[in-house]
């Protein structure tokens, strides 16, 4: 290596000044640890055992036997840190709680990764179809009401004239429809969160029923069966049914998998004598 060459961080590409030859050095930019120029890669306490972690306080290389993992809230986020058994390092790391490895093992949810991906895609696609459906429904209603001779049946209240109540009816009912679709989409995303999967599945089913009822109500109120356009209504209904079917299937799957996870959480806590 020539004098002019800089050592770059293999993570971010920032410069790594080598101050310590036999200890770790940190990237100037991202603070990722790098080996010193003459540093051994073994654990400081067990020669011949390749190190697997670095103490975040003193920078010593540690094997699995010597490391202690902790989880702590830092800047509003849960971060994992590793410290060695030196008193100073333990004290410095005390802002984080030691990681309960046994509990972590018992509540490991990796088994559901593939299934959760599938559920997220099914419910998500269904909810997006519903969202798009609601947007097209609103635009379609505006088009048919104001740009064609067809109009929704007159429905007045509070003694207000029809030219005020009609757009308000269309707007308010469409916003309610969009709100339901947004809640549906929100719940569809929540099925990917372990703790919320069961609840999200139930919510999806409930909101789906309300959404269907709301659509039927709007259809009857607006007299959509009398729409002169032969394409718009069947196309919308087809999209709506497809979206409904996807959300329905996804919600059932979410409830099934979510319930299994709930039992797993409960069993883990019972096994470790933690409060259920």
């Amino acid at each position: 290596m020539t004098q002019q060459q800089k050592i770059l961080c293999p993570v971010c590409g920032g410069p790594v000044p080598i101050f310590n030859k036999d200890r770790i050095n940190r990237c100037e930019y991202c603070a990722a640890p790098m080996l010193g120029s003459s540093q051994n890669r073994d654990c400081v306490n067990h020669k011949g055992t390749l190190a697997k972690e670095v103490c975040h306080i003193c920078g010593d290389l540690l094997c699995e036997k010597c490391e202690e993992k902790r989880v702590g809230e830092y800047g509003g986020k849960l971060l994992t840190i590793v410290n060695c058994s030196k008193e100073a390092c333990v004290t410095e790391s005390s802002w984080a709680k030691p990681l309960n490895e046994e509990y972590l093992e018992l509540v490991n949810m990796d088994w559901s990764d593939r299934m959760d991906n599938l559920i997220l895609r099914i419910t998500g696609l269904g909810a997006i179809i519903m969202m798009v459906f609601e947007l097209i429904f609103f635009l379609g209603m505006l088009y048919f009401q104001y740009l064609t001779p067809w109009s929704v049946p007159a429905f007045t209240y509070f003694g207000l004239p029809e030219w005020i109540t009609t757009p308000i009816n269309i707007l308010l009912l469409s916003i309610v429809g969009n709100l339901l679709a947004a809640i549906l989409l929100q719940s569809a995303l929540q099925v990917y969160v372990h703790e919320r999967q069961l609840g999200a599945g139930v919510t999806l089913l409930v909101i789906l029923v309300i959404e269907v009822a709301h659509l039927l109500f709007r259809g009857l109120l607006f007299g959509l069966l009398g729409l002169p356009n032969p394409v718009f209504l069947p196309m919308l209904l087809g999209a709506f049914l497809f979206g409904t079917l996807l959300v329905f299937i996804g919600s059932l799957m979410a409830m099934y998998v979510g319930n299994k996870k709930r039992k797993q959480f409960k069993d883990a806590r019972v096994k470790l004598n933690l409060s259920v």
């Binding site: 800089k6 050592i7 293999p10 991202c30 603070a31 990722a32 080996l35 997006i128």
Partner: protein, 473 residues
């Protein structure tokens, strides 16, 4: 520019309708007006519109006046129920209620005129302001970038100077991301894979492709997902080891104790699926924000109306004289009899129009405009949320450190930080509550410091008073 494109579309449509005979000979005049008044000027000056923003605002007001006048003329001549029928793919007729479209134009353009006039102090840029016309630098000023110390250019083997585009292309063309010699280290400069067997005694590796010297990660552990790569570093949330292809990077917390300039996250933690002792993961669609902002916009329309009334009231102070003088002259000529009653009624009508009808009409127009524009903005928000959700569902919102570097090299610009707004738990330090909390803390400290200064000054004054009373000797 967009107006110009719409203008061209409208011109073509009008021309077809005129040739088709639907519009009659007046169609040619409309075609010419739309082309000359909208399409051509907008396309010609669209790109430079920010440079001439003052003129653009005034032109917009003029244009809106013309649009209102033309639409009003159309309604006056043809009536509100006037409509056109077009053949649609030969299957059925496509009918457009042109009278209603004209009414919409009148309402919307009137709102635009009122808005531009009332908010002139805001819509007109201050004199001497520098306009950044190109989208890229203008966008970068507002949107954060993925944290990286590297410019969007390939570094030479010295790790400092940048390569020419030709040399860069040569390296990117030949570099490989896999090796046949066991575990490899991925280069943070070019992304190429160099076998670990080439590690030198000083714990550095020369990249096989670009030649930069890479430090070796502190632990010799393979990536959790790619056994063929040495882990670059650990995920800050779960603590597991990953390569550059499996980590994304974010700005660090607002917390000043954080020494590094980056937070690395694996996909699992980015998606909030890691479950240590406790977890806080959620995907939240900001529905409440959409409604709040829609409500806020209605409130802004209300405040605009209030401002309008204020300006209107001030203007009326000066305009009062005219009707009052008129009334006075009527009063003086009152004794003469015949016709003075009509003049008086006319003057009163004029006053009523000035005082009541104009502000009321402005209010109604603003409300109508708000009813049209605010739902459009609300729906635009919903569309943006849907697109974000689609990214999450297709799992394309995770941008790895490696792919961000390659993209920045190819696109020759720094990559934007495109974390989804629907994942607040991923950037919990970024939320408004936290920043507000920091601001409050800063304000509390400032007030505390002010209070201490005040008390010190008071004590000093009391001491001086005591000294002057008892004498300093």
């Amino acid at each position: 520019m967009t107006f110009g494109i719409f203008g061209i579309i409208a011109t073509i449509g009008l021309l077809i309708a005129t040739i088709d005979g639907t519009l009659g000979s007046i169609g040619y005049i409309y075609t010419l007006l739309i082309f000359g008044g909208v399409a051509f000027p907008c396309l010609a000056i669209g790109y430079y519109v920010d440079d001439f923003r003052r003129w653009a605002v005034m032109s917009q007001i003029l244009y809106s006046f013309i649009a209102v006048a033309l639409s009003a003329l159309l309604i006056y001549v043809q009536g509100l129920s006037y409509s056109w029928t077009f053949p649609l793919f030969g299957a059925e007729n496509f009918e457009i209620a042109i009278g209603n479209v004209a009414a919409f134009i009148i309402a919307s353009q009137t709102v635009i005129i009122l808005y531009l006039v009332i908010r002139a102090d805001r819509v007109l840029p201050p004199k001497g302001v520098k306009v950044v016309r190109e989208l890229t630098p203008a966008g970068l000023a507002e949107i954060g970038e993925i944290p990286t110390p590297m410019d969007p250019a390939l570094l030479a083997s010295d790790g400092m100077t940048t390569l020419t585009p030709g040399e860069e292309k040569k390296i990117l063309d030949v570099r490989r991301v896999v090796t046949e010699e066991g575990m490899a280290i991925l280069c943070s400069n070019c992304g190429g894979a160099t076998p670990l067997s080439k590690t030198k005694d000083d714990n550095t590796v020369d990249c096989d492709y670009c030649g930069v010297v890479l430090g070796v990660s502190s632990v010799f552990v393979p990536c959790e997902n790619h056994g063929e790569y040495l882990a670059a570093t650990t995920c800050n949330v779960c603590g597991n080891h990953f390569c550059r292809q499996c980590l994304t990077v974010q700005e660090p917390p607002v917390d000043k104790k954080w020494e590094a300039s980056a937070i690395y996250l694996c996909r699992k933690c980015f998606e909030g699926r890691y479950r240590p002792a406790v977890t806080t993961a959620s995907l939240v669609i900001p529905i409440d924000n959409l409604f709040t902002s829609a409500g806020g916009r209605f409130a802004r329309v209300g405040s605009m109306y209030r401002s309008f009334l204020g300006v209107y009231g001030n203007a009326m102070k000066h305009l009062w004289r005219l009707p009052l003088e008129l009334l006075a002259s009527i009063g003086k000529s009152g004794g003469g009899g015949g016709g003075s009653g009509d003049s008086c009624a006319g003057a009163i009508l004029l006053i009523i129009i000035i005082i009541i009808a104009i502000p009321l009409l402005a209010g109604v127009l603003m409300l109508l405009g708000a009813i049209i524009i605010i739902p459009i903005l609300f729906y635009a928000g919903l569309v943006a949320v849907t697109i974000e959700a689609a990214k999450i569902i297709s799992r394309t919102d995770f941008v790895s450190v490696d792919s961000a570097r390659v993209k920045s090299l190819v696109m020759k610009r720094r990559m934007k930080a495109t974390e989804s707004k629907l994942r607040p738990a991923v950037r919990s330090w970024d939320d408004s509550y936290r920043s507000e909390q920091l601001k409050r803390e800063w304000e509390r400290r400032r007030q505390e410091s002010f209070r201490q200064d005040y008390q010190r000054t008071q004590r000093e004054r009391a001491r001086q008073r005591a000294e002057s009373f008892w004498g300093s000797g």
